[in-house]
Symmetry: C2
Subunit: 274 residues, 2 copies
Amino acid sequence: MIALTNTTLIAIGGGLDLQKPSRVIKEFLLHCGGSQACIVIIPTASRHKDTGERYQALFQSLGVERLPCLLEIRQRAEACNQDYVPAIEAATGIFLTGGNQVRLTAILGGTPVEAALHRAYQQGAVIAGTSAGAAALSAIMLAFGKDGATPKQSMAQFSPGLGFTDRMIIDQHFRQRDRLGRLLFAVANHPGILGIGIDEETAAILEGDILTVIGQNAVTIIDGAHLRGTDIADIKHTYPIALSDARVHVLTQGCTFNLKNRRASIPEKGGNIE
Amino acid sequence: MIALTNTTLIAIGGGLDLQKPSRVIKEFLLHCGGSQACIVIIPTASRHKDTGERYQALFQSLGVERLPCLLEIRQRAEACNQDYVPAIEAATGIFLTGGNQVRLTAILGGTPVEAALHRAYQQGAVIAGTSAGAAALSAIMLAFGKDGATPKQSMAQFSPGLGFTDRMIIDQHFRQRDRLGRLLFAVANHPGILGIGIDEETAAILEGDILTVIGQNAVTIIDGAHLRGTDIADIKHTYPIALSDARVHVLTQGCTFNLKNRRASIPEKGGNIE
């Protein structure tokens, strides 16, 4: 296994073109060893039978020498199989595909596979997820939400995620599916947790306290720590909720955000899109 | 401050009679120093103006010598006030009243008060909550749910709690409000997280890995780690969800549950109700 000293989480906003590999996929590979990467693909979120194979072909087309290991886990009984554990523990990068995030947690939650993923992460393996795979990375996960820019009561469901970070809630297909409202709703519920909205073909890379943005579009960060007020506890049904003084950062390629002091850093010459 | 070597969390299922102090209140006092306890009361969840004062009187009637410190935090601006921090840091016991759990997280989340509570907890202060105050203790919190024994899709809202434990989801007024369905729904979403349903006048005391039950009624524990299957990811709207092989423990006074090996221990002669 390639020695990595820090934990690395890569949340990708979905919309990946598997025919024409995007910068975010290349960046994932760079982080887990380039051509020497030892990759595990988990397509559990997806209902399409060929999802895993398509990523396997993609990573091979980008020069990964070792055949990425495909864990076709479709049921809890399979996630309880200890046979998958050695592959996960040997991985330098683990990739969770898109699909339905509740499938990921309902199938993997509390199983030996989930435990092995956490051990691998602590030991330096890069954990990446796209779309549903990105949503499931956080301890609290958004699912089954409604679109729209106005936050409304109960407009999204939170549920327990895989828990690689408890400092943020990750939303994806962010601008493309108009999800500002549900991220504001999430932050109003607990203003201490950062809301991270990731656009398609874009990724947030979390290394220690530093989140770095890469890709074509933007990552929107909602920081509620300085929220002055919200009426969320009193609003009934699905009426709009009010909140004031949420801080919003829209960050593009090359921008960083420090989770400790909650400061964004924007490169002087703008993001360095190639 | 009285030296305590472990963290202690006391989740109370609500329904406390403040005129006739119940065993759970006395047990809270015992854990935080008896007559020498240095108590902080946080009535933020409640909309009643006298909630905090009623608990203050209750603790005094039970022989607590020092006047319990009442933090009347009703708005975020107050929770951002550093003046409250020293009282929290000096406390041997902190009591969160009932009310609305979303009010607790929306007002305290991400503030200096929340940070001070976590520091106090790590330093040995007992953190106790009843009803909404109990629900908010966990990292993932149940709110706005529907009653009934059958788990149904989206029948409860999860939202981010105060996060004193990330190993369980706590529900309260459990048997009295018929909440088995929503706890099963919660566990099906992520079977790795324990569902803890606490009846009224009953408490779960978490010290390290050991949960101990005290009080008049029962604590129901749903362990999903051995769940064989659930269709929760595919069920639409509010239709019932299926799940198989959830393990259920119903524990009464004196019973314990080990969170590490997930084994319950029932005293030979039954719970020692006085």
